[in-house]
Amino acid sequence: KRGSLVLPIRRGAMAMRAMTRCGWRASRRWASFGCLNETQEQVREMTRGFAESALFPVAAENDKLHRFPAEVIRELGELGLMGCQVSEAWGGSGLDTISYAVAVEELSRGCASTGAIVSVHNSLYCDSVQSYGREEVFEAFLRPFAQGEKVGCFGLSEPGNGSDAAAASCVARRVEGGWRLSGTKAWTTNGIVGSAAVVFATFDKSLGHKGISAFVVDTGADGFSFGAPEDKLGIRASTTASLILDDVFVPEAQLLGREGDGFKIAMKILDSGRVGIAAQGLGIAQASIDLAVKYAAERNAFGKPIASLYAIQHKLSDMACRYDSARLLTWRAAAAKDDAKPFSKHAAMAKLAASEAATFCAHQAIQILGGMGFVSDMPAERYYRDARITEIYEGTSEIMHLVVATNLLKEYAALDIALPAAPPKHAHHDHALSHAAA
């Protein structure tokens, strides 16, 4: 019996060691990340102030007119927000990932379209070029983008495949000095306004995902054109369009990583991108909560503010809990990335939680505002429409579940899980009988 007491503890220790391998010990350092450090607080102050003064006043109109906020993007460039994580040597700001997440969240609170533009430009375009591009292309394809003079896009999805990224049909034909790319990329944020695009194309379909390469392409190149801007439900101030490549020449130097690395690059870049999109969802959720609380405090029904009614309080609590848990997941993913730890699972959890928090909070905000939530006089309806995309792009929620489950199963496969023993079937019954007999 004593032996059986010792065994679970030993197994527990093994589990601890295995979890440490997965980064549990590192999470003790993150115990205080519910708070921001001074720099992160300063970033938050600045982006929040900017959002309130520059984004709040124009977000509704830009949404109504489907207008790209060029003026705002220029100012964001001057503030260093278009090169958040680009190194200072190349005109960027060298921010840590939590600061970046905070910045995107505050901008998205003001205008989710701006959040989308900034997130895609930073995480998908700049990160790809900086992490995988050759230094010889940085002067043309990184510096002006980090300084906000030009905007970048990311062409991965195609009309025929979104989640099934490995089934790329855009082809890269090897030619003298480089490649010629032909095909169509769909749903590209920052299309039309983008001066360069990261494009994924296959040089050998028979190799499946190993046959895909990543390139940085000048959108002004011969044969490159944009499709018509999409008429979207939400984030309407951002421009989304297809990229049409008709035998576009891409020089050797503009290959990202090595030939065949494309799929791996896409997956790694999307992990970072998911932190950005999670942050965008958090901004929309925060804006929805702000609006709902303010409205509920002022709107009277049954002789008192509706904020005093439990039905409303329950909704607000639900919104706050989902928002805050998603935020902690997001910051944990960001901290893991900065610690150079594997963070795919964390990023997927963050994006999943934050996007669902965004749609939930926006939905409930409309509900709390009632009729006022349904009209464009209040931003609730815009938050609702903007939130919807966060569950779709940069990996649908279904794909997020897939990523989390795959990682989870891998983690468990490395552990020897101890389950508590089932009680012996008849021992207690016999014990009681023997007592009774005695």
Binding site: T39, E45, C84, E88, S93, L95
Partner: protein, 267 residues
């Protein structure tokens, strides 16, 4: 030097800016339960808005080549370092922190503050001191003028426009007063206090926020500066203003005039 020469300055100025850490302007201030002061625990603190304007003006002078160095000083608890780092993030060159545990809205009063700033000014030898016209906690508006007096310098308060002229030997200032705008010229060194319309402070750029982290903060203790910090005034109690009484309906115009004359005393 090229920028200074283009600005017509043979020797760029050193500008000293005073910045104060106060309750954030957006916070709804509450009186503490003991009525001895306002509630400061767990309340958001930021740089005084008029100090931000003062900082911004100094940085603009440097960018125009008129100033060569901008030094910011703040008096307060160790958290005042955050205010100084905000100043660094905006773009000031150097910061000095004078530490004290005295409560800034009550215990450290304008005359004592002015004396401390004089000690700093005598050390730093600035050509121009820019401060905010008042801080939003005490709202005294006296520290700047007192400091100018202690230094025996000319002063221009409530500045809405500042121009340095005559190769840095004088300044032309537009002052906003209750009866209109006054333009005066004063020789430097001088003290200017900034009013709301002097400028709109910039948002700190991200690279500057990151750089500010690494810059040093020179720290001095208020007690070491040999300054008399005694209270000139004692705060007896702090109370919320009484709620506005409800309006009264008057029967006719005669009654209205009577009330305006005899009760409200505005006629």
């Amino acid at each position: 030097r090229k920028v200074s020469q283009r600005a017509g300055m043979s020797k760029p100025l050193r500008v000293l800016v005073g910045v104060k850490r106060v309750v954030d302007y957006a916070v709804r201030v509450r009186v503490a339960a003991d009525n001895k002061g306002v509630e400061l625990a767990n309340v958001k603190m930021s740089m005084n808005p008029f100090c931000e304007i003062a900082c911004e003006e100094a940085i603009r002078l440097r960018e125009a080549g008129v100033a060569g160095e901008v030094v910011a000083v703040s008096i307060g608890p160790k958290q005042a370092a955050e205010t100084l780092r905000s100043a660094l993030a905006m773009g000031v060159d150097r910061v000095i922190q004078v530490t004290t545990d005295l409560r800034l809205d009550q215990e450290l009063q304008p005359l004592a503050t002015a004396r401390l700033l004089r000690a700093i000014a005598e050390k730093e030898e600035p050509d121009l001191i820019i401060v905010g016209k008042q801080s939003i906690d005490g709202d005294n508006g006296t520290t700047g003028p007192m400091l100018a007096e202690l230094l025996d310098w000319p002063q221009a308060t409530f500045a809405s426009k500042l121009e340095v002229v005559d190769d840095g030997s004088a300044a032309v200032v537009e002052r906003e007063t209750d009866v209109g705008t006054e333009t005066i010229k004063l020789p430097l060194p001088a003290l200017i206090s900034a009013d709301l319309r002097l400028n709109t402070p910039r948002y700190p750029k991200l690279p500057n926020i990151m750089k500010a982290k690494k810059k040093p903060i020179e720290t001095l203790d208020a007690a070491d500066l040999g300054v008399d910090l005694d209270l000139a005034n004692l705060v007896l109690s702090v109370n919320t203003p009484p709620p506005r009484p409800p309006g009264v309906t008057v029967a006719d115009v005669d009654q209205l005039v009577d009330k305006l004359k005899n009760e409200a005393a505005v006629l």
